[in-house]
């Protein structure tokens, strides 16, 4: 039954490519996408009780490929279908003629859904390669930016990382003789720890690169902000591509339970968040600021995943959803702003609230949701993440939140002030109504995520989440303090700018730098896990 979730988008893509002339095909596609989203919700509620398992081809034992959908996977599938539904609405009449764009978009969706459903080690390799190849082609889609240096680096790094992953799977197959995760989990738990170190290190390097952890993240933000790349692809990139890395991290953490690695990845998450914020502060390109803040949020989620307790897990899961929604909202909105102002430099864009009122309001909603303002989704997830956490971690996490607030204060500068003259006399700026509906839906979701927060958490995760008034007020105070500190800091930002610039230059690797950091990460893993622990 699960295979139809994967085959359906691919069939939509193939049909779309083969029958281009059909007039109302776009409407049909939105309907199909909506149906897929409803099916994903139905799947989510089915998996609340039991885990749905489909053996492809009903072969006995662990011979064939087995697709499993538990609650986590169903949630991610739901998130993917929702994202692609909104993207189809957003770029409804943007790419009218290009069949290839629509074909690749739905192939990408099929690859993501496939990635979230399979537990087969080799299948993850094939699906990861398909998704990175399709992403590379989609980013380089427009003829003008085909000469993008970052697209090449993105594809090459992804292929090399996947070779590391395949080597790790080879070792695992040597140890367990099986490719299915559940089956090899049974065998791995019987093996002694010292034999697991090398496959663990190899696979974790691949996962760190895919979820853009510290040393290996410099290429992902640049790829998202390729000058003329379609903005819907960039939105999907930060919403899903990074999250698939985190999803794989969860799967492989379950597989390698014998090796206790929460300490390492906790530190990695914090470092990534801090460095991500530092990079975001020094950028001048609007899209790059958003892309680097995705890296920072990924670091924060990694921290959340590695904390003990159910609340932290629920909090980070909820943060994945709310971040995906609000970040794609911001990306799509900035896409529209750039189309009107046709410049990407943050210095030149001013007065978005005046020139594009609806888009401006949506951007405000997105910023408030990401920085965790009270009535929005981000607040709920951050609240749960910090629910039961000891003092030093509490301080670091609130410091990271302060960092994100700083970034988005800088980003919010585009809203206020008066728009420049040539934008002013284009009044009234006619905005594509499909894009506007997409953005409004997204901002509504941000708001709903916050207002019905506890109810949604209880619905999604079955955890009786009560937002205690004391905790809420405490969080509110911290938020206000950090907003004030943020505003203060932005006043004197020219002071620390030079130092930050030097730090980011040092960490801004070219292709060879990234490969070296890949090797360094592998050595770090081997030494830490093998020798020390």
């Amino acid at each position: 039954m699960l295979t139809y979730f994967v085959i359906a988008p691919i069939f939509i893509a193939v049909l779309l490519y083969l029958i281009p002339f059909f007039k109302a095909r776009k409407a049909l596609v939105i309907l199909a996408q909506g149906a897929l989203f409803l099916a994903a919700c139905y799947l989510f509620f089915r998996t609340r009780e039991t885990e749905i398992v489909t053996i492809v081809g009903e072969y006995s034992g662990f011979l064939g490929i087995i697709l499993r959908a538990d609650q986590l996977a169903a949630m991610f599938v739901g998130l993917t279908t929702l994202m692609f539904l909104i993207i189809t609405v957003y770029s409804f009449n943007e790419q009218k003629d290009s069949r290839l764009f629509w074909f690749l978009l739905f192939i990408w969706e099929g690859a993501f859904i496939g990635l979230f459903l399979t537990r087969d080690l080799f299948n993850i390799f094939v699906l990861a390669e398909v998704s990175s190849a399709v992403a590379a082609v989609l980013l380089m889609y427009k003829r003008t930016n085909r000469s993008s240096y970052h697209g090449i680096i993105f594809l090459m790094v992804n292929v090399i990382v996947m070779q590391f992953y395949l080597l790790g799977v080879g070792y695992l197959y040597m140890l367990t003789g099986a490719l299915d995760m559940e089956y090899s989990h049974m065998i791995v738990s019987t093996l002694d720890r010292s034999r697991l170190i090398l496959p663990f290190a190899l696979i974790m390097t691949a996962i760190a690169a895919k979820s853009s952890m510290l040393p290996l993240f410099t290429f992902l933000p640049k790829v998202q902000s390729i000058p003329r790349a379609p903005v819907s692809v960039a939105a999907l990139f930060s919403a899903l591509q990074v999250k698939s890395g985190l999803y794989l991290f969860l799967r492989f953490r379950h597989l390698f339970e014998a090796i206790d690695m929460t300490g390492i990845f906790l530190a990695l998450g914090i470092l990534t968040a801090v460095v991500g914020v530092a990079f975001a502060l020094t950028q001048t390109d609007v899209k790059r600021i958003l892309a680097y803040s995705t890296v920072a949020q990924a670091g924060l989620i990694m921290v959340g995943l590695n904390l003990e307790g159910v609340y932290a897990y629920v909090g980070s899961m909820y943060h994945i959803i709310s971040h995906a929604i609000s970040k794609s909202l911001l990306f799509l909105a900035t896409g529209m702003v750039i189309r009107v102002y046709n410049t990407r430099d943050i210095g030149e864009i001013r007065g978005v609230l005046r020139s594009l009122p609806v888009v401006g309001v949506c951007i405000v909603f997105g910023i408030l949701s990401i920085t965790g303002a009270p009535l929005f989704g981000g607040n709920i997830s951050k609240y749960f993440m910090m629910a039961e956490v000891n003092l030093p971690l509490f301080i670091t996490m609130s410091f990271i939140n302060l960092g994100t607030i700083l970034v988005f204060i800088k980003f919010a500068r585009i809203l206020f002030g008066t728009p420049s003259e040539e934008v002013a006399q284009q009044q009234p700026i006619q905005v594509d109504k499909f894009k506007q509906t997409a953005i409004v839906i997204l901002s509504a979701l941000c708001l709903a995520g916050g207002v019905f927060g506890p109810g949604l958490v209880r619905l999604l995760f079955g955890v009786d989440a009560t937002v205690s008034l004391g905790g809420f007020v405490e969080k509110l105070i911290i938020l206000l303090v950090s907003w004030a500190v943020g505003l203060l800091l932005t006043k004197y930002r020219h002071l620390g700018r030079g130092g930050l610039q030097r730090v980011t230059n040092r960490l801004d690797f070219g292709f060879r730098g990234i490969t070296v950091s890949m090797g360094a990460f592998l050595v770090l893993m081997l030494v830490l896990v093998g020798v020390l622990m």
């Binding site: 492809v56 072969y59 034992g61 190849a133 070792y171």
Partner: protein, 322 residues
Amino acid sequence: MIPNPMLYAILALWVFGAVCILRERRNVRVMIYLFIFSLLTSLAYFLLGSPDTAMAEAAIGAFTTIFFIVCFEKYEALKVDGPQPEESPAEKRPVGAWLKRVVAPLLFTAVIGALMLYFSPGGEVVDHLKSQYLTQFAQDVGGENAVTAIYLGYRVYDTLFEALLLVVTVLAVAHMSYSTSLQSTKQKRYLKPSVVEIAVVRAIAVVILLFGVYLIVNGHITAGGGFQGGLFIAAFFVCRFLIHNIHDLPVYKLLRLEEVVFASSVLIAVFVIFLGMTYHLPAEHLPMFQGVYMVIMNFMIGMKVACGFTILFYRYVTIERR
């Protein structure tokens, strides 16, 4: 039985080929070493007991060389940024720079290698799944070739995604290559082949086509299968280009054909394997049904790979070279 030291000698030669590629500066020689390297890897796969992979590697080695050559030719023709002497004699660089540029990475890789070999899990290899495959593949999927039975029967889900990736590549290359016009007007001609060459290549082309179909049709009995067969049918079109030096391939029609073939192969796989049709059929018809399924799937994949690689080849050789 091939003696072990012989196998180790060939693997040593294989590693020597890799070192040659590492050391060589001039791109043309790198292409030749790459071709020799891929032939040696094909031999290594064969000696490790898998003729299927060896055939795939041999055929794909030839195609990759052609794509690399065209890429290098384009780079060669574009050398605008000054007479960057490729074979510049290594002028006396200070030892410090040399240390930093060569020895440091060497040490770094050596450290990685030492750690990997130290931590590599020895001990016996667990393979009960393998014995299950070998015993059950005959009646589960049919055919005598266990490898084809696996990638067409048990793991057909993988094969569909990989066929999908091929379709994506072909579409991407056809879309992204420089000009969308079918015929390339101003065209740098390759050397005109001599009469002898045309006669012999025409004869060999027929043999290649014959072998391509042979591989597709009984891929499930002896070594071979959809991919290898498809590649050799594409090789037939390569020879066709060599003989007549023609460029009039209807790329977009072929693209649509490939799409249709891919879609139908997905449909067949869905009906036969995903729905587990093999378990609802009466027992006596099963072997015949399985055999037919395998041949059809091999044929579909073969056609798709053949169309895909022909388009890639013609796109690369005719239009990219301008």
